[in-house]
C-alpha cells in the first residue's frame, strides 16, 4: 500500500460535508425539528417589535376578552391587551431567563468545582459540603425562598434559580477535573513549573467543557419552566413585563370561559421548552457517547 495521500478535490470535500450534515439530520430528525422551532422562537423574540400588531402593554377596556379572530389573532385579555403581541414579547423574556440563569449558574458553579476538584482534600470536602446544602431543599422550594428574601421580580427570580442550581455544575466540573488530575500532561505541566491557575484554566477546564455544554443545554428548558412557575405564583416577573407564566396567572379568575387567555401562553411555553429539550437531547447524544439514547 502506498502511503501517498490522495488529494481531495474541494468539490468532493463540499459534497462530503453536505452528506455528513444530511446523515446527521436523518439520524436526528427530532433534533432538526427542535432546532428549527427554537430558531423560530429566537426570531420571534428578536423581531417582536416588527411582528407584533399591537403594543403588548396597551390597555383598551373597550376591547377586552375578545375571542381569537382577525382583529386579534390570539384574542385579548381582561385588560384588552393583545395576547399575540404579549406572547411574542414573552419569548424575549423566556429566552433571556434561560440564558441568564444558565450563565450565572455556570459562573458560580464552575470555579467552585474547578478549585474543589483540582486541590482536593479538605478544601474539596468543605466546598462540596456547602454545595450539598443547596441540594438539600426540595426542587423549586429554594428558588421560592430566595426570591422571597430578595423581593419579587424577574431579575431576583433569575438570581434565585442560578443560586439553587450552581451545585450541579460544581459537581460536573469537579468530577471532570478529578479524572484528568493524574494524567501525564498535567503532571508534566506541573513539573515544568506552570502555575496552578494556568493549569486549571488551560488544561483542566477544557476537559469539563463538554459535560458543561450538555448540562447547560438540558437545563435551559427547566430554567424557563421554573421561572414561569415563579412568575405564576406572583414572585417572578411583575406586570407589565410580558411573561408567559405571569400571563396565565393574571387570567386566573376568568380563564374558564376565555380559554385563549391561558391556552396561548401555555402553548408558547410548551412548544419552546419542548424544542429546547429536543435540541438538548441532540446535543447530549452527539457530544456524550456514553449517554447515547439507544437508536
Amino acid at each position: 500500500m502506498t502511503a501517498e495521500a490522495v488529494p481531495i478535490a474541494p468539490a468532493d470535500r463540499k459534497i462530503a460535508a453536505t452528506a455528513r450534515v444530511l446523515y446527521f439530520a436523518r439520524r436526528n430528525v427530532l433534533f432538526v425539528v427542535g432546532a428549527a422551532v427554537f430558531l423560530a422562537v429566537v426570531l420571534a423574540a428578536i423581531f417582536a417589535p416588527l411582528i407584533a400588531p399591537y403594543d403588548p402593554t396597551a390597555i383598551d377596556f373597550a376591547d377586552k376578552l375578545n375571542a381569537p379572530g382577525l382583529q386579534h389573532l390570539m384574542g385579548t385579555n381582561e385588560l384588552g391587551q393583545d395576547i399575540f403581541s404579549q406572547v411574542l414579547y414573552g419569548a424575549r423574556t423566556s429566552l433571556l431567563v434561560g440564558v441568564v440563569v444558565i450563565s450565572l449558574a455556570i459562573a458560580i458553579g464552575v470555579p467552585i468545582g474547578l478549585v474543589a476538584g483540582y486541590f482536593g482534600g479538605h478544601l474539596d470536602s468543605a466546598l462540596m459540603r456547602v454545595s450539598d446544602v443547596f441540594l438539600a431543599f426540595p426542587p423549586l422550594l429554594l428558588p421560592i425562598a430566595i426570591t422571597a428574601a430578595l423581593g419579587s421580580g424577574l431579575f431576583n427570580a433569575m438570581v434565585a434559580l442560578a443560586v439553587s442550581w450552581f451545585p450541579w455544575y460544581s459537581r460536573i466540573v469537579r468530577g471532570a477535573v478529578m479524572r484528568v488530575n493524574n494524567e501525564l500532561y498535567i503532571s508534566a505541566a506541573r513539573a515544568m513549573g506552570v502555575g496552578n491557575v494556568r493549569i486549571m484554566l488551560r488544561h483542566a477546564l477544557p476537559n469539563s467543557l463538554t459535560p458543561i455544554i450538555v448540562q447547560g443545554s438540558m437545563d435551559f428548558g427547566y430554567a424557563i419552566l421554573a421561572a414561569a412557575s415563579l412568575s405564576f405564583i406572583g414572585i417572578g416577573a411583575q406586570p407589565p413585563t410580558p411573561e408567559w407564566g405571569l400571563m396565565a396567572a393574571l387570567s386566573r379568575t376568568r380563564f374558564i370561559d376565555n380559554w385563549w387567555t391561558v391556552g396561548f401562553p401555555g402553548m408558547a411555553i410548551f412548544v419552546t421548552v419542548l424544542a429546547v429539550n429536543l435540541v438538548g437531547d441532540g446535543v447530549r447524544d452527539t457530544l456524550d457517547p456514553k449517554h447515547q439514547s439507544s437508536h
Binding site: V133, L140, L225, S229, I233, W259, V273, L274, N277, H295
Partner: protein, 338 residues
C-alpha cells in the same frame, strides 16, 4: 450497619444546620426587613427600636445566628403575621392536606410510572418504547400550573364533572361534619361512614391529584426506563439470556431484584419534586395545604411563616432521603456486610 446509620444521621444533622444557615442568611443579610411589615408605614424610631429589640435584631450578627439556631432547635418558629398563630400550629393544621395529596400522587406514580418505565425498557426500541419516550419528552415541557389549568378548563368548565378548586364543598361540609381522626379527609369521611361527604371529598381531590401525578410521571417513567435498560445490559443478565433461560424468569428473578435500589432512588427523587410541585398545584387548586400557605406567606411578606415552611419542607425532604438510603440496606444484602 449501625456505624453507617450513625454516620448518615450525623451528616443529616450537618446538612440541616447548613439549611438553617442558608435560611438565616436569606432573612438577615439580604434586603427586605420584617420590621417594615410589622409596623406598616412610617413608624417612629422608638417603635422600630422596640421591635428590633423584641426580634433580637439589635444584637451582633453571630449572636442573632446562635439565637436563631436555638429557637428553631426548641421548635419555636415564631408567630405568623397573617394568622397570629404559632407557625408550627399553622403547619400542623394544613400538613395533612398536603400529605394526602402528595402521598396519593406518589402511589399513583409508583403504580403507573414505574411499570410503564419497566415495560418501556423490556421492550426497548419497540413502538411501545417510542410512544412512552415521546410522551415523556413532551410531558416534561408542560409546566404543572398549565396542566392544572387545562384540567380545570376541561373537567370543570366544559364537562362540568368536577369541582374547580378547594378540598370540599362548603355546603356539604356544613351538613356532613365528620370527626377529624387522621386529617386525611378521604379516610376520615369513610371512617364516619358518610358517603355523601366521601364522594364530595373524592371529587375535589381528583384534579389536583391528576395534575401532580401527570406533571411528575414523565420524569419517573423515563428515569425508571433508563435505570432498567442499564440493568438489562449487565453481564449476568446477558449470561442468563445466553443460557437460554426463559425471558420471564430473567426479568423477574434476576433483573427486578437489581432494579429495586435504583427504583428507591427514583421514588426519593420524585418525592422531592412532589413537595416542590405541591406548592404550585395547591396554589392552582386553592388546596388548603402548606404549599398554598407558603405562597400566601411569601406574597404577603409573612416572614416567620415563609421561613418556617421552608425549614419544615427541607427537613421533611432530608428525612425522606435518609429513609430511602436506609431502605437500601433492607433491599441489598451486599451493603449490610460492608
Amino acid at each position: 450497619m449501625t456505624p453507617y446509620v450513625i454516620q448518615r444521621l450525623v451528616l443529616m444533622v450537618g446538612t440541616l444546620i447548613g439549611v438553617l444557615t442558608v435560611t438565616f442568611v436569606l432573612t438577615h443579610i439580604l434586603p427586605g426587613s420584617p420590621v417594615e411589615v410589622m409596623l406598616g408605614h412610617r413608624p417612629t424610631p422608638d417603635q422600630v427600636a422596640a421591635v428590633k429589640h423584641e426580634l433580637g435584631l439589635d444584637l451582633p450578627l453571630w449572636r442573632q445566628y446562635l439565637r436563631f439556631l436555638g429557637e428553631i432547635g426548641h421548635g419555636h418558629f415564631g408567630k405568623s403575621f397573617l394568622t397570629s398563630q404559632p407557625v408550627l400550629q399553622d403547619i400542623g393544621q394544613r400538613l395533612m392536606a398536603t400529605v394526602e395529596l402528595t402521598t396519593l400522587a406518589m402511589v399513583c406514580i409508583i403504580l403507573i410510572g414505574i411499570p410503564i418505565g419497566i415495560l418501556s425498557a423490556v421492550k426497548a426500541n419497540s413502538p411501545i418504547d417510542h410512544v412512552v419516550r415521546s410522551l415523556s419528552v413532551a410531558g416534561v415541557a408542560l409546566p404543572g400550573f398549565m396542566l392544572g389549568m387545562l384540567l380545570q378548563m376541561a373537567f370543570y368548565g366544559w364537562l362540568g364533572w368536577l369541582p374547580l378548586q378547594g378540598r370540599m364543598t362548603s355546603t356539604v361540609l356544613l351538613d356532613h361534619h365528620f370527626q377529624a381522626v387522621t386529617g386525611l379527609f378521604l379516610v376520615d369521611s369513610l371512617l364516619a361512614g358518610d358517603m355523601v361527604a366521601f364522594r364530595d371529598v373524592a371529587a375535589h381531590i381528583v384534579l389536583p391529584l391528576a395534575t401532580l401525578t401527570l406533571a411528575n410521571l414523565p420524569l419517573a417513567a423515563r428515569t425508571t426506563r433508563n435505570l432498567m435498560v442499564e440493568v438489562l445490559t449487565e453481564d449476568y443478565i446477558l449470561t442468563a439470556f445466553a443460557y437460554g433461560l426463559p425471558r420471564r424468569r430473567v426479568y423477574f428473578r434476576y433483573a427486578l431484584k437489581a432494579t429495586l435500589i435504583p427504583l428507591l432512588t427514583v421514588i426519593g427523587l420524585t418525592y422531592g419534586y412532589l413537595l416542590g410541585g405541591a406548592v404550585v398545584a395547591e396554589y392552582v387548586f386553592d388546596w388548603p395545604g402548606i404549599g398554598s400557605y407558603v405562597v400566601r406567606a411569601i406574597t404577603e411578606s409573612d416572614y416567620p411563616a415563609a421561613i418556617g415552611v421552608t425549614i419544615f419542607l427541607a427537613a421533611a425532604y432530608l428525612i425522606i432521603n435518609l429513609t430511602v438510603d436506609l431502605l437500601y440496606f433492607l433491599v441489598d444484602p451486599r451493603l449490610r456486610r460492608a
